[in-house]
């Protein structure tokens, strides 16, 4: 009970502090933009800890964040091995292949209005294919190791990036294209000097969506067969053997990896599309 009350009081207090911080004169400042969500995250953890302890939730159902932290620091070896298997090998390879293939395909089909018109609706269609249906098929085609995970990731990220890139390539306005015409510029010149730079904000939109998909794809695919390592492997066996603390440690790694991956893409986006109004400040 005391835990519950504490968690609730802490929550209200932190919220009030955040409200004050956000509306104060530091509100627009970089440090406040980081502090506020961090404080909010800490509040969630405290609330969680309080609920688990206060309600006496069984550790095989939900573990307290403090326990997860202990497990995390005690199993860095395993977590690192899994991270390498799932993120570095499975997700990143798939992401790289998938996005490269999507970019090249986008440039190729963009030359034909007919192909674009035909491929985009089909692409949306394929993007709605449930991963749990594709994963067993691809595991059976590409084997148990990270290659099949990469294949799943390729399938998942290909179309979001393709659709966004194609849209971006047509995003140049008529006047910008006419300008190139008045210079009698060739196809390649127009592509590299106008259309690709102009498409970049859209490409990055697709890449950002793809980052979260990539990680989830690699993890879920491991449910359908894997070597005895990997984040998905650990999560599924962890649930089965009631090592919920380890499961949460893996989820934690997934969240950190996913968020950093997203953050890195956003950072590159900021450098590449510095000129776009949404990036200026």
């Amino acid at each position: 009970m005391i835990w519950l009350v504490f968690a609730l009081v802490f929550w209200l207090g932190a919220w009030a502090f955040n409200a004050w911080l956000a509306n104060s004169r530091w509100g627009g400042h970089r440090s406040a933009r980081i502090a506020v969500p961090v404080i909010f995250g800490i509040t969630l953890l405290v609330l969680w800890e309080g609920l688990v302890r206060g309600l006496g939730v069984s550790p095989v159902i939900l573990t307290a964040p403090s326990t997860v932290a202990q497990t995390f620091s005690a199993s860095t070896g395993i977590l690192w091995e899994d991270f390498r298997q799932t993120v570095l090998k499975g997700a990143l390879t798939g992401f790289a292949i998938g996005s490269a293939a999507a970019l090249v395909t986008a440039v190729l089909i963009d030359r034909s209005a007919f192909l674009t018109l035909g491929l985009l609706p089909v692409g949306n269609f394929v993007a709605a294919l449930p991963i749990v249906g594709i994963a067993p098929i691809l595991v059976s085609w590409f084997g148990f190791d990270w290659q099949s995970k990469s294949a799943v990731v390729v399938v998942m990220v290909f179309f979001p990036i393709l659709v966004n890139t194609v849209q971006g390539l047509r995003e140049t306005d008529a006047m910008q294209r006419d300008l190139m015409r008045t210079y009698a510029a060739g196809y390649m010149q127009t592509l590299f000097k106008l259309r690709l730079p102009a498409a970049m904000p859209f490409v990055f939109n697709g890449l950002k969506i793809a980052t979260t998909l990539a990680l989830i794809g690699a993890i879920v695919a491991e449910y359908f067969g894997s070597p005895t390592r990997g984040m998905g492997f650990r999560i599924s066996t962890g649930v089965g053997s009631l090592s919920i603390d380890l499961v949460w440690a893996e989820i934690f790694v997934a969240a950190i990896a996913g968020t950093s991956f997203y953050g890195i893409v956003v950072w590159i986006e900021r450098m590449v599309t510095f000129w776009h109004p949404s990036q200026r400040r």
């Binding site: 210079y183 510029a185 000097k193 000129w275 200026r280």
Partner: protein
């Protein structure tokens, strides 16, 4: 309708041009039976109500639009050949700078495409930047400059390479009067010095009269030429010329020509 014999062999010659856009709402007649000859070194202004086809006519000259009927030659060849020979520089209604390139980079763009060598590029960029008084802004990005400065950069971009013809579509539309006066003066000087042929679209009667050797007045859709006025003003024109009776008389004639075709529904 009126065919004006050019001062020398015509640089641009249009005969019976028609242009109809096919749109969802049916056909839009943008140009109807337009004939015009423009001689070398002329400064021709096009004036007319909004939507009358001024931009369309300029775009036909630039091979950005295909006429549905009639003939047009540019430098004695087809507009397409002229475009491929990079015979003209085009200044669009909006500056249209690429936001991912600096001002210098934007001006360099046509030079890169046309394969000028690097040293030549640098020299030309520096020269035209000075010409439009943007020295020192080479490294800035377009959005860091005011609208007027952007417009000047876009003019510099069209001047950077050697084209004898300059097609300008309301280049000063977005500027305030003082800056506009100043740029008008500069443009006249440039024209005087280089003997380029300039086609210039504007909404402003004083501007048209001040700049041109020839003023083409157009009527609303379907765009036709209703009057072609050869200016008696001398080539050297101080700003004060705008207060002279000759100037006011031409301006009056242009205004009458414009008002004739107008129905107040726009």
């Amino acid at each position: 309708m009126t065919i004006q014999p050019g001062i020398s062999a015509p640089v641009i010659s249009a005969k019976g041009l028609d242009l109809t856009f096919q749109t969802g709402d049916g056909p839009v007649h943008a140009l109807r039976d337009v004939s015009l000859d423009i001689g070398k070194g002329e400064f021709v202004s096009f004036i007319g109500p909004s939507g009358c086809g001024k931009t369309t006519f300029l775009r036909v000259m630039a091979d950005l639009e295909q006429p549905t009927a009639g003939q047009i030659t540019v430098n004695g060849t087809s507009p397409e050949a002229a475009r491929k020979a990079r015979a003209y520089g085009y200044v669009f209604q909006a500056a249209g700078l690429y936001p991912w390139r600096t001002i210098g980079g934007n001006i360099r763009l046509p030079l890169e495409i046309m394969g000028y060598d690097r040293a030549d590029q640098d020299a030309r960029v520096a020269r035209v930047l000075d010409l439009v008084e943007l020295g020192g802004f080479e490294k800035k990005y377009p959005w860091q400059l005011s609208g007027g400065m952007q417009q000047r950069a876009s003019i510099a971009r069209a001047l950077a390479f050697d084209a004898d013809i300059l097609l300008m579509d309301e280049p000063f539309g977005a500027l305030d009067e003082i800056v506009r006066d100043h740029l008008n003066e500069q443009l006249l000087k440039l024209w005087d010095r280089t003997n380029k042929t300039i086609c210039f679209v504007t909404h402003s009667i004083p501007e048209a009269v001040y700049l041109s050797t020839k003023i083409v007045v157009m009527s609303p859709r379907p765009g036709r030429i209703t009057d072609v006025i050869d200016s008696p003003l001398p080539r050297a024109r101080p700003l004060e010329i705008r207060d002279t009776p000759e100037f006011l008389e031409i301006a009056h004639r242009v205004r009458e020509g414009l008002r004739a075709g107008h129905a107040y529904d726009d």
